[in-house]
């Protein structure tokens, strides 16, 4: 092959890129072995992966025991998922009576069925459905879960527990805190000094203290606030605490959205002669809330993780029941399995919610 072939200007055939820059080799060279430091880093990283991943996989899958009904079934040295299998019902429903568990299932299935149309863009009656979910569904849900009427057996709240209790606290907390948070956010931006001072103080008070002190307050101080003889259930008190706490965070998220709306929108609404509430409902909030959906989902994720704290005031949420189960003398020594299972469930919930919020964020960003 002669390299001295003469080409007329512009007639040189296109050559393929050098083989070391394309394909698998090119990718490896570019991303893992581009220089000495990088190569050392790669080797170090591979070593860490080698140290962590194969033992973890063999512990969770290959050396694990899945079937059986007592700890004698766990003899292969890996994870003992039998523990989770045997206790799964309790982890999901707490001490809810076994024959009544369908009620918990149907409460959540109903919610999912009702929520599905909200995510379908072409569905027209979102407002009505939303109102139904916010105002009618909680009543249905409460009667289904607590019973005591309509021929259902009464199940008292100390019997509630497990993942279903975690979901109840998180959902009630976020839904209940939304209107309070909205009002607080509007109040904080109000031109009336007393209103704004009150809302700012309220928000900063709850945001400045840890949730655990709020829960302690709700469990030991609320009963003192009420007149003699009036007493609320422990779960309701915890829910009130969670709601007030999360309302403060919600208020700050919504305030962020309100501040992002250009001043012209406020002035335009005023110029049209709209009253304060009309301009908020029809002009400002629809725009502001759209922008804070990711923030609200973020708050929800935070609240979902924070619901674990209710175990400190003696409610058996998902983590609480796993913790209680792992101290059961019959299953001593299998707490790692319990925690890993619990962590995986929380992770799946939180991760999928954060992915959803990121997709909403991307969807909203393209509009500008």
């Amino acid at each position: 092959m002669t390299s001295e072939t003469q080409y007329a200007p512009g007639s040189h055939p296109e050559l393929p890129p050098p083989p070391s820059t394309v394909g698998v080799v090119g990718w490896l060279r570019g991303n893992l072995f581009s220089n000495t430091t990088n190569t050392l880093l790669t080797i170090f990283a591979i070593y860490i992966v080698y140290l962590l991943v194969p033992p973890a996989i063999s512990w969770t899958l290959f050396n694990a025991d899945f079937s059986g009904d007592s700890r004698e079934a766990c003899d292969s040295g890996g994870a003992c998922w039998v523990f989770i299998n045997v206790r799964l019902g309790q982890f999901m429903y707490g001490f809810y009576p076994v024959e009544e568990r369908w009620r918990v299932d149907s409460t959540f299935i109903l919610l999912v069925v009702l929520m599905v149309p909200m995510f379908i863009d072409s569905f027209r009656h979102k407002a009505w459905l939303g109102a139904f979910i916010l105002f009618v569904y909680p009543v249905i849900g409460f009667y289904l879960l607590a019973g005591g009427s309509f021929g259902l057996v009464e199940v008292e709240t100390p019997m509630w527990g497990g993942l279903s209790l975690t979901l109840i606290i998180a959902i009630v907390g976020i839904v209940g805190s939304f209107p309070i948070g909205l009002l607080l956010a509007l109040g904080r931006r109000s031109k009336m000094p007393a209103v704004s001072a009150f809302c700012t103080g309220f928000i900063e008070l709850w945001r400045g203290v840890p949730l655990i002190t709020v829960l302690f307050m709700s469990s030991v101080m609320f009963p003192l606030f009420l007149p003699e003889g009036v007493n609320f259930d422990k779960l309701i008190r915890a829910l009130v605490g969670v709601m007030l706490f999360s309302a403060a965070y919600m208020a700050e998220t919504v305030r962020g959205g309100l501040q992002a709306i250009p001043k012209g929108q406020y002035e335009g609404a005023e110029a049209l002669g709209l009253t304060y509430w009309k301009s908020m409902t029809f002009i400002i909030l629809p725009q502001a809330l759209k922008h804070v959906i990711p923030g609200i989902v973020g708050n929800f994720i935070g609240l979902f993780k924070d619901t674990t704290l209710v175990l400190i005031i003696g409610l058996f949420d998902f983590l609480g029941i796993v913790q209680a189960a792992s101290t059961d003398p019959k299953w001593l020594g299998y707490s790692i399995e319990g925690y890993v299972f619990c962590a995986m469930v929380y992770w799946v919930f939180c991760f999928s919610m954060s992915q959803y919020s990121q997709s909403v964020e991307r969807k909203l960003h393209t509009g500008h």
């Binding site: 990088n38 101080m221 007149p227």
Partner: protein
């Protein structure tokens, strides 16, 4: 409706209840009355309830003897100490774990955040897996995992893991030799103080010289030399006035030395790992907020990758990073209250837990606890605002 006064602006025909000013005063008055009345209602109920339960109000209980022990305390404490002393012990333990946690979380977070942006695919992926794993698992679960599943599963004191016959790790904690200072040790402390002053003076001089002549001076190496060398010299001159008390196994546990209890270790590890995953995302966002042109310009000037990050990117990124970082520090401090679930004796666990159970002074104790957290929150945010303002001045 006053027609005589034609010189002024036309009199308003608005009905008083439509006048924004009147309305605003009315609404504020309503709010104020509502707040005052509900406050009085709550106050009245609380006073009634307390009287019926026979609990005396006020902070007199703080002087009473506590009568319970606390496993770890930074200041002298015994069962004969007062509740007020127990509160101080708890508060100091909170501050200790928060301080250690903030330092560790910052270090891990910055490393992971930078690794997340690494050009090395594997390193970036590993950092991403770290972030996505730890920030999506509740902190309390992580604390439980470290405490019950890892640290409680360590060998018993008899079979401790032994490092160089001085450090012993077992399920009761980490036992380390503690230093005993003898006469003449003050010389070493003086030497250290002089070294610190020397470093400050040298840094100023080096800064001034660089501004005037452009010559660099390796302050870092000189400072390390000064800080290590001078105390070492003093140590030699004074004839090593320092001895070590080595923990020894007696009966079922170690005696002597310093012990770091497993509750502290579990809390510290989980707080640092959890918060670091958030800090990493903040660092990444901060670095990405600095335009890529800055990196390219630095490279074009011939600055290497390391110094580019250190001298060009990070100082600019810090401005974006600091506000959310300060709120993560606050979160960490507040989250340290979860220690109550594993009985690390910090403020909530000691004061809102044990002391509240013993005395029943719910209102006082919870107000004090909330007040302390509020002041810490406001303090840290004031500090961060000051630092933020200082950083913002650099902007041109």
């Amino acid at each position: 409706m006053n027609k005589q006064d034609s010189a002024g602006p036309p009199a308003s025909t608005t009905k008083p209840w439509n006048d924004p000013k009147v309305r605003s005063i009315f609404f504020q008055a309503v709010l104020l009355i509502a707040v005052v009345f509900s406050g009085m209602y709550i106050f009245g109920n609380t006073a009634d309830n307390l009287e019926r339960q026979g609990i005396a109000t006020g902070f007199g209980f703080l002087g009473t003897t506590a009568g319970f022990g606390i496993i770890t305390h930074l200041i002298d404490y015994s069962e004969a100490s007062s509740y007020g002393r127990a509160f101080a012990v708890g508060l100091l333990n909170t501050l200790l774990v928060a301080f250690c946690g903030i330092i560790a979380a910052t270090i891990i977070g910055v490393i992971v955040g930078i690794a997340r942006l690494s050009k090395n695919w594997l390193v970036a992926r590993m950092a991403m897996v770290y972030i996505e794993t730890f920030r999506n698992i509740p902190l309390l679960l992580q604390i439980f995992f470290w405490y019950f599943a890892v640290l409680r599963a360590l060998p018993s004191p008899k079979n401790s893991v032994n490092f160089a016959d001085g450090v012993f790790i077992n399920n009761r904690g980490i036992y380390m030799p503690s230093a005993i200072y003898e006469d003449g040790f003050s010389l070493v402390i003086w030497a250290l103080l002089i070294a610190i002053i020397g470093v400050v003076v040298m840094a100023r001089w080096a800064h001034k010289r660089r501004d005037q002549t452009g010559q660099q001076f390796h302050t870092v190496y000189a400072s390390i030399g000064l800080l290590v060398g001078l105390p070492l010299l003093a140590l030699i001159v004074a004839g090593f006035p320092l001895s070590w008390e080595i923990p020894a196994l007696k009966g079922f546990n170690f005696v002597g030395g310093t012990v770091i209890i497993p509750e502290f270790v579990a809390l510290w590890i989980s707080l640092s790992i959890y918060t670091a995953s958030f800090i990493a995302e903040i660092v990444r966002a901060g670095i990405q907020a600095v335009s890529h042109g800055q990196t390219e310009a630095a490279h074009a000037l011939g600055i290497k990758a390391g110094p580019t990050l250190r001298l060009v990117i990070l100082p600019q990124a810090l401005r974006v990073i600091i506000p959310p970082l300060s709120s993560q520090y606050l979160n960490l401090t507040k989250n340290s209250s979860l220690a109550t679930a594993i009985a690390y004796p910090e403020m909530v666990s000691v004061f809102t837990g044990t002391v509240l159970n013993q005395t029943g002074q719910a209102v006082e104790i919870i107000s004090v606890t909330m007040g302390v957290y509020l002041s810490i929150s406001l303090g840290i945010s004031a500090l961060m605002n000051w630092y933020n303002a200082k950083m913002a001045l650099v902007e041109r």
